[in-house]
Amino acid sequence: MSDGLDYSTEFKLTEKYQTSPWIRSHRDNAVSWIAAHAARYWYLGLIMLAGAIGNAGLAAAVPIYIGQAMDALLGAEDPLTVLQKIAWWIVGTQVVRGVLQFGRNFSAELIGQRMERDIRHEFYTSLLGKSMTYHNLQPVGDVMARATNDVREINFMFSPGINLVVGSANFIVMPILFSFRYHPALAAAPVIFLVLYILALWQYLYELRPITDAVRKAFGRLNTRLAEAVDGIETVKGAAAEKKEVRLFEKNAENFRDQEVRQGDVEARFLPLLLMGLVQSGGLLHAIILFQRGLVNVGDIVAYFGLLLLLGFPTFVSLFAYSQVSLGVAGARRILELINKETELDQNEAGYEQPMQGELAFQGVYFAYPDGEVTVKDINFEVKPGQTVAIVGQTGSGKTTLAKLVNRTYDVNQGKIIIDGVDLRDWNLAELRKQISIIEQDIFLFSDSIADNIAFGRPEANREEIKQAAKSAQADKFIQSFRNGYDTVLGERGVTLSGGQRQRLALARAFLTDPRILILDDSTSSIDSATEDEIQRAIFAAAEGRTTLIITHRLSQIRWADHILVLRGGEIVASGTHEEMMETSPAYRRIFSE
C-alpha cells in the first residue's frame, strides 16, 4: 500500500485510465487536490486570466474615453472630429472586450466541465478499486450524491465561481491602476474600498453561513414530515390525527419562516453596497477638491467617477460568487473523504488456488463492525460439501453478516473460517470469490436486456446456455411471457420485475457461473401458491450439488435443510437437523405448529 498504487488493490484499469501519481499525491488536502487537477488545464487558466484582465481593462476604457470626449467638447477646436474618432475607439474596444470576456467565460466553463469529468472519473475508478467490504459499508445513496452533486459543485466552483471572483477582482484593480493617470492621490478611494470590501465581505459570509445552515435544516424538517404525513395519509386519517399533523406542520412552517427571515435580514443589510456608495461619493469629493486646486480637469473627474462606478460589479457578484467557491471546496472534501478511506483486506495473490470442494467450517468466529457493534459471537458449525444450511432468526440477529464472512466481504475478528481445510485468509481472494456466489436481499439488475443480466457473470455465455440457466431457475416461463422475451430491457425505461422474479434471475446468474458455494439471502414472499411452487423448485435445484447457505423465512426451506442454525443477538441459540430441533427447541416447535 505504500507503493502509490494503493487504490487499485482489487481491480486495475489499463494505464491510460488511471489517475496520475502526481494527482494522487495531492489527495490529503482538498484545495491542493483541486489545484492539482486544475493545473492540467493551465493554458485555459491563462486564457481566463488574460480574458479577465482584458475585459476589465477595456471596460475601464469607456469612462476614460468619455473623459476625453468631455475635454474635447469643452476645449477642442473641432470637437466632432475628435468625438468621431473616440466613438470608433469605443466601438472597437468594446467589441474586442466582448471577445475577451467570452474567452474568459468559456475557458472557465471548460475548466469547470473538465474538472467535473475528471474528478468523477477519478472518484469512480477509486470506487472500483475498493474492496467489497467498503461497498458493503458505504450507503449507495451517499456515494451517488457525491458522484453527482458534489462533483457538480466543483464544476460550479470554477464556472461561475472562480470566473466571477477573478473577473470582478480585476474590476477593483483597474480603477486603482487607472486613477494614477489622473492623479496618484486618487488611488486612495479604490484602495480603501479594496481593504474595507474584503473585511465587510468576510464578515458577511461569516455571519451568513450558520444561518443558511439553519434554513436548510428547518426546511429539511418541514419537508420530511410533510412527505411522511402525505404518504401516510391513510394512517393519519385512520388515527383521526389530521389536526395533530396540521399543528405540527404549522410549527415546522413557522420555524422555517423565522429562519428565512433571519437570513433575509442579514442579506438585506449587505454592507459592501453601502461601502461602494461611500467610496464613490468620497472619490468624487476627492476629485473635485483636486479640480478646485487646478490639479485635474473636468474630463478627469468624469473619467475617474466612471472608473469608480466599475466597483458595482464586484459588489454585486460577491453576493454569491464566494459561497460558490467554498461550496466547491466542501464538495471536494466530501469526495476525498471516500477516496481516502482505505480497506485493509489483502488479496493474497500467492494464496491457495484449487478447485473448491465446498467443505465449510466456522470455528469460534467473532465479528464486529468498525463502529464497534458486535454482530456475531462464537459461531461454530460444519458443513459437508453439497449440504444445505438454513439460517433462521429475527432481523438484526446477525444472519446476513454471518453469510458475508464466507466470501471475505468482511474478515473475522477472532476464530477462523475454513473451506476445504484451508483458512479463508490463506486462499487467493480472487479464486475464492470466483467459486462463491452471493445472492443478496436487494437484487440489483442493470437496465440491460434480461439475457445480459443473466450472463453478467459470464458474458461469453451463448443464448442456449442462458436459456438453460433460466429454465433451471424457473425463470424461463415468465421471461417468455414478455413480448421481447430474453431481449426485454429492464429498469426505469423498461419492464419492472417483482421481487420473486428478480430473485429467480439472480438464481439463473448463479446457475450460469456454477459456484461451489452458494449463499442465498432470501426474503421474497409469494402471494399465490403457484409462484411459491416455482420459487421452491428453483431454490431446491440451485442448492443441488453445491454447498448452500440459505437465509430464509420459508418454512419449507428450513424444514428440508440438512442443518439449521437459529441466531439471536449474533449467537447460535439452537442448531441441528429439523428432527433434532423439534425435540430440543420449544421456539422452533412453535413455528411449526398451526
Partner: protein, 602 residues
C-alpha cells in the same frame, strides 16, 4: 442574474384565468397592506435616490465646465453621498419588509394548502400522487413567493428608469428617442438569446437525465460487478456516460458564455453612438455638456431593466402556474360530505351495509346492491381475488370514499351523520404496508390515542412474546424508527402498528394484512398481537395469511363485488366450492402439509 433564471421550467397548461389568479393572490397580500404600503414607499424612495445620482453628477459637471466653481459643489457632493446612503438604507428596509411579507404569505399559503390536503378524502390522493402534493406545498408555494420578490424588484428598476426617462425627455427629446429606439433592439436580442439558452438547457437536461441514470446505475452496480469480477465492463459504461455528459455540458456552456459578452459589446456600440450624436447636440447648443454626460450615465440604468424584462414574462408565467397548482389543491372539493356531526360516546361495533352501490370511476361499479351485516365482537375475514372488493369495504367503512347509493349503519348511526374525527377514534386501522412516522417507537404506538402512558404501552408490549422483540431494540420503546420506520424490519413495523391499535382499544378493527415476508419467529409474535386485538373488537380482516383466515369467526368470499359464499374455514373447505379454489390458489403453500411435501416438487 435574472436573465439566467427559470431556464429549466416546464410548460404547464393553466386552467385558472390570469385575473382570477391575481385576485386570489391579492387575498393573500391583503393582510400585509401596511407593509406593502411601506415597501412601495421605500421602493419609490430608492428609485428616486438611484435616479438622483446621475442627475447630481451631471449637474456638477455643468458647474465645472467653466473652471473652478463655488462652494455649492460641496453641497452637491453631500447630496450624492445622501443619495447613496438612502439607496442602501432604503433597500435595507425594503428588503427586510419584503422578506417578512413573502415569508408570512408563503407560510400562510403552505398551511392552508396542507390543511386542505389533510382534509381531502382518499379519492383525491388517487388522482394526485403524494409526491405531487408535497411539491405543491413546498416548491410551488416557494415559486409563488419568488414571484412577489421578482415583481417588486422589477418595479423598483422600472420606476428608476421611468423617473430618469421623464427627466431625459424633458432635456432633449430627440436624444432621448435615440436611447429609446435602442432599447427594443436590445430587448429582442435578449429575448432571442433566452430562447436559445432555454433550448440548450432543455436539451442538456434531457441528456443529463440519461447520463445521470447511467452514472446512478454504474455506481449502484459496483458491488454486483465486483461479485462477478466484471469491473472492466461496468467501467466502460461509466466512462462513456461521463464523456457524453461532458460534451453536452460544454455545448450548453458555449451558448451561455456568449450572452453577456454580446450584450456588453452591444452596450458599447450604444455608448459610442450617444457619445457622437450627443456631442453634435452639444456643439449645436441644444444640450449642455452635463446633460450629454447624464445621457451616458443613464444608459446603464435602462440597460438592466430591459435585460431583466426579457426574462420577466417567462418567470411570471412560471410563478403564476405554480400559484395555480397551489390554489387548485386548496380549492379541490371533497367528495365525502357529512350531513351531521354526531359524536358517538361508545360503539358496540355492529355494522350493517344495505343496498350499497359504489364505484371509484364512472361506469366501473365495484358494488351493486351489496349487503353485509357484522355483529358486535365478530371477526370477519374477507377473501377473494384482487378486485373482488375486499379493500373497498374497509375503505368505505373508514369513510375514506363516498358511495353512490344505499347506506352504511354503524350501531344505530348512519355513517354520513357521524363526526368523522370522533368516529375514527373508535376505528383501529392497519394498512397493508404499515406506516410509521419518524420518531420513537413510543411516539408511534401512542399516535392514535394521544395520552397513553409509557406503562400501558410497556404492559401491552410485554404481552407479546414476553416482550422479547423490545429487548432486541437498542433503546426499547425509545428507539428511533427512522424516516417512514425504515430503521425497523417489516415484521417489527407490523408489531408496532398492531400495538398502536391495541392501546387505542377500538370498537372496530380493520386490518389489511401485509404480504411481505417475515421471519417465522416475528410472525408468531404478530399472530399473538393479532389474537389480542381480535378478542376485544369487531374485526374486518382482509386476510392473506392462512392462520388469520382460520382464526376468523366467519369467512366471507367475495367475487366481483358480490358475496358468493359464507362460513368457517372448515365448512367452506368441505363444501369444495369457490373458497376451496381460493385456498388452493393463495393459502395452500402456507399449510404444514405443503411444507412436508415441498421436497417432492423437484
Amino acid at each position: 442574474m435574472g436573465f439566467f433564471s427559470g431556464l429549466d421550467t416546464e410548460e404547464y397548461d393553466r386552467e385558472y384565468g390570469d385575473r382570477e389568479l391575481i385576485s386570489r393572490i391579492f387575498t393573500y397580500l391583503q393582510p400585509h397592506g401596511k407593509r406593502i404600503f411601506w415597501i412601495s414607499f421605500f421602493l419609490i424612495l430608492v428609485a428616486g435616490a438611484g435616479a438622483a445620482l446621475p442627475l447630481l453628477v451631471s449637474n456638477g459637471v455643468d458647474r465645472f465646465s467653466q473652471g473652478p466653481a463655488d462652494n455649492a459643489v460641496y453641497l452637491l457632493v453631500g447630496l450624492v453621498l445622501l443619495s447613496t446612503v438612502i439607496n442602501w438604507g432604503g433597500n435595507w428596509v425594503r428588503r427586510r419588509l419584503t422578506v417578512r411579507t413573502v415569508s408570512d404569505m408563503t407560510m400562510t399559503l403552505r398551511i392552508d394548502a396542507f390543511e386542505s390536503a389533510a382534509n381531502h378524502d382518499l379519492s383525491f390522493y388517487d388522482q394526485f400522487s403524494s409526491g405531487r402534493v408535497v411539491s405543491r406545498i413546498t416548491s410551488d408555494t416557494r415559486e409563488f413567493g419568488k414571484l412577489v420578490v421578482l415583481v417588486t424588484d422589477l418595479i423598483a428598476q422600472l420606476a428608476q428608469a421611468l423617473i430618469l426617462g421623464i427627466i431625459l425627455s424633458q432635456i432633449e427629446i430627440r436624444l432621448f428617442l435615440y436611447v429609446l429606439g435602442f432599447l427594443p433592439l436590445l430587448f429582442v436580442i435578449s429575448l432571442a438569446f433566452r430562447k436559445l439558452a432555454r433550448k440548450v438547457t432543455r436539451e442538456g437536461m434531457r441528456a443529463m437525465a440519461k447520463v445521470n441514470a447511467t452514472i446512478k446505475e454504474t455506481v449502484s452496480g459496483i458491488a454486483v460487478a465486483k461479485n462477478f469480477r466484471q469491473e472492466q465492463a461496468i467501467f466502460d459504461d461509466f466512462h462513456q456516460a461521463n464523456q457524453e455528459s461532458y460534451q453536452m455540458n460544454v455545448q450548453r456552456g458555449l451558448v451561455l458564455s456568449m450572452v453577456f459578452p454580446l450584450l456588453n459589446a452591444l452596450g458599447g456600440i450604444g455608448t459610442a453612438f450617444l457619445v457622437y450624436v450627443g456631442g453634435i447636440n452639444v456643439t449645436q447648443g441644444l444640450v449642455t455638456v452635463g446633460s450629454w454626460y447624464l445621457f451616458l450615465l443613464s444608459l446603464d440604468r435602462f440597460f438592466f431593466p430591459v435585460l431583466n424584462l426579457s426574462a420577466f414574462w417567462a418567470q411570471v408565467q412560471a410563478g403564476l402556474s405554480a400559484s395555480e397548482r397551489v390554489f387548485a389543491l386548496i380549492d379541490a372539493q371533497p367528495a365525502v360530505v357529512q350531513h351531521q356531526q354526531i359524536v358517538p360516546e361508545r360503539l358496540s361495533g355492529k355494522v350493517v351495509i344495505e343496498n350499497l352501490d359504489f364505484r371509484y370511476e364512472e361506469d366501473e361499479w365495484v358494488f351493486r346492491d351489496f349487503n353485509l351485516t357484522i355483529q358486535p365482537g365478530e371477526s370477519v375475514a374477507l377473501v377473494g381475488h384482487t378486485g373482488a372488493g375486499k379493500s373497498s369495504i374497509a375503505k368505505l367503512l373508514a369513510r375514506f370514499y363516498e358511495f353512490q347509493a344505499g347506506r352504511i349503519v354503524v350501531d344505530d348511526y348512519n355513517i354520513r351523520d357521524l363526526d368523522l374525527i370522533a368516529y375514527r377514534k373508535h376505528l383501529g386501522m392497519i394498512a397493508q404496508v404499515p406506516f410509521l412516522f419518524s420518531g420513537t417507537i413510543a411516539d408511534n404506538i401512542s399516535y392514535a390515542c394521544g395520552e397513553c402512558g409509557e406503562e400501558e404501552m410497556l404492559a401491552m408490549a410485554k404481552k407479546i412474546g414476553q416482550g422479547e422483540w423490545l429487548d432486541t431494540l437498542p433503546e426499547g420503546l425509545q428507539t428511533q424508527v427512522g424516516e417512514r420506520g425504515g430503521q425497523l424490519s417489516m415484521g417489527q413495523r407490523q408489531l408496532v402498528a398492531l400495538l398502536r391499535v391495541l392501546v387505542q382499544h377500538p370498537s372496530i378493527f380493520i386490518l389489511d394484512e401485509a404480504t411481505a415476508s417475515i421471519d417465522p419467529f416475528t410472525e408468531w409474535q404478530i399472530q399473538q398481537a393479532l389474537d389480542l386485538v381480535l378478542e376485544h373488537s369487531t374485526s374486518i380482516l382482509i386476510a392473506h395469511r392462512l392462520s388469520t383466515v382460520k382464526s376468523a369467526d366467519r369467512i366471507v368470499v367475495l367475487q366481483d363485488g358480490r358475496i358468493i359464499e359464507e362460513g368457517t374455514h372448515r365448512t367452506l373447505l368441505a363444501d369444495d366450492g369457490h373458497y376451496a379454489n381460493l385456498y388452493n390458489t393463495y393459502f395452500r403453500h402456507q399449510s404444514l402439509e405443503y411444507i412436508e411435501e415441498s421436497r417432492d416438487l423437484v
